[in-house]
């Protein structure tokens, strides 16, 4: 009985892991490479700086508040979006850099 429970639990965990996808958004020429992105709850977004100077990524949205600090060209940071809704993403250094992530 216990073994059967263990198998079911493992399957459930594995199935939930396999559903989480990773999306990449670049920061290039002082713009996000995507103006909007639709993902599923639990998905991960990888923000990669492709410009030869520092950028920041932050959101003060209700579904996700984060501040990734600043990082140079070639580096990236990831954010997991758990809650459904819309998140406005910006670069604090360059406020013209904006995008929207819709979490379904």
């Amino acid at each position: 009985m216990f073994n059967r429970f263990l198998v079911i639990a493992t399957c459930l965990i594995l199935s939930s892991v396999s559903f989480a996808a990773e999306f990449e958004v670049g920061q290039k020429n002082k713009q996000f490479t995507k103006r909007s992105l639709t993902i599923k709850a639990g998905d991960v977004v990888k923000f990669t700086n492709e410009d030869p100077f520092f950028h920041n990524v932050f959101s003060l949205s209700e579904i996700k508040t984060f501040d990734l600090g600043s990082y140079p060209k070639g580096e990236f940071k990831t954010v997991t979006f758990d809650k459904k809704g819309k998140a406005e993403i910006e670069c604090a250094i360059h406020p013209n850099m904006r995008m929207t992530i819709t979490v379904e």
Binding site: F53, F54, N56, F58, D67, G69, S70, A92, H94, P95
Partner: protein, 349 residues
């Protein structure tokens, strides 16, 4: 083998020759030759941008100019927009920081109006999006023009000449904050600098800039890295940076952009100002702490003074005295010929 060696040597010599003639810069992105296509990104758009619903025309400019120079828009009747944004002083005031009502010394310098039409965000802390958004701010601020705006609109609505000017500029619209703002913004969009020696050089006039100014430009976009923030075409990234001024070390310093975006990086960060017409707009920095362009370049050369939250895009680049001179000379090439502004005849009381 000997033939291959000779060909290789010739190729190396050719490359060295090209570099020694400074036809190609070490900076890579640009070819420092008057009129070269790689420089075109530094030219401002021919058409000055404006928002939907406020297309410029003569009537709007005429009304905006009268409002801009009218001191009756202030509580004491002695300050107009032009008091702090004087066209004869580079559309600024020549003061380290502005003086408001009763000559009260304010915390930040009056920014120039030059080329604010191209800004995507306004004010040192970016709290206003457009010139229209910004226009009523100084009138409403009790420390600045300290105007009772209800009283202002009552007076404008009773003044025959202003009624007629508003009717011509914004037919069918009320005389109120939106139309006052739109008229002022339209006039401010006439303060354009796009005919500097640098602009003429970019367009192909090889004599427009001196050798020293071209060297300064190379340093500006290369070793000194100024263009990371003072970027093309308006010499601003419309971004926010803490540049390590001494005043950042004060007790209770001005937090700048942090008041609008509460993120660590934004503590003490201020908007990158344009460098167009920079020679006319001394003193410099948001706190007016640099008297001359030499002082400004020295500040950057030493990598700032108080570095507790320095912008990551501000790198210390030790510049020699002659390199600093070259950059200053280059910045002097960013002024257009002076455009005289005639004072408008204001509506009678």
């Amino acid at each position: 083998m000997e033939y291959v060696y000779k060909r290789f040597s010739l190729a190396v010599l050719t490359i060295l020759f090209l570099f020694s003639n400074n036809i190609f810069a070490a900076e890579g992105k640009y070819v420092f030759k008057a009129g070269h296509p790689s420089l075109k990104e530094w030219l401002l758009p021919d058409t000055v941008p404006y928002p939907e619903g406020n297309k410029p025309n003569k009537a709007r400019i005429k009304l905006g100019k009268k409002l801009f120079f009218d001191p009756r828009l202030s509580g004491d009747g002695n300050m107009s927009c032009a008091t702090c944004h004087n066209p004869a002083l580079g559309w600024s005031d020549g003061l380290p920081t502005a003086k408001g009502v009763k000559s009260k010394v304010l915390g930040r310098a009056s920014p120039t109006v030059f080329n604010t039409a191209y800004n995507s965000i306004q004010m040192w802390d970016g709290r206003k999006k457009s010139l229209e958004d910004q226009a009523m701010g100084p009138m409403e601020a009790t420390v600045e023009m300290n105007m009772n705006t209800a009283k202002l609109f009552k007076w404008l609505n009773s003044n025959k000449e202003y009624i007629s000017l508003f009717k011509a500029a914004y037919p069918g619209e009320k005389i109120a904050a939106p139309t006052v703002s739109k008229a002022l913004a339209t006039f401010e969009r006439t303060a354009i600098s796009n005919n500097s020696a640098f602009d003429r050089w970019v367009k192909g006039d090889s004599k427009a800039m001196s050798e020293q100014q071209i060297r300064g430009f190379k340093l500006f976009v290369g070793k000194a890295d100024c263009a990371v923030c003072h970027s093309a075409p308006n010499f601003t990234d419309n971004g926010f940076h803490n540049i390590g001024l001494a005043s950042w070390g004060n007790k209770n310093p001005d937090m700048g952009r942090y008041t609008q975006r509460p993120l660590r990086l934004m503590k003490g960060a201020f908007k990158t100002p344009t460098l167009r017409e920079i020679e006319r707009t001394a003193p410099y920095f948001h706190d007016g702490s640099a008297k001359t362009l030499q002082d400004v370049v020295k500040h950057y050369s030493q990598g700032g003074v108080v570095k507790t939250n320095l912008s990551p895009n501000m790198t210390k680049t030790k510049l020699s005295a002659s390199e600093r001179d070259d950059i200053v000379e280059f910045m002097r090439a960013l002024s257009s010929p002076y455009k005289a502004i005639s004072l408008p005849e204001l509506p009678l009381n």
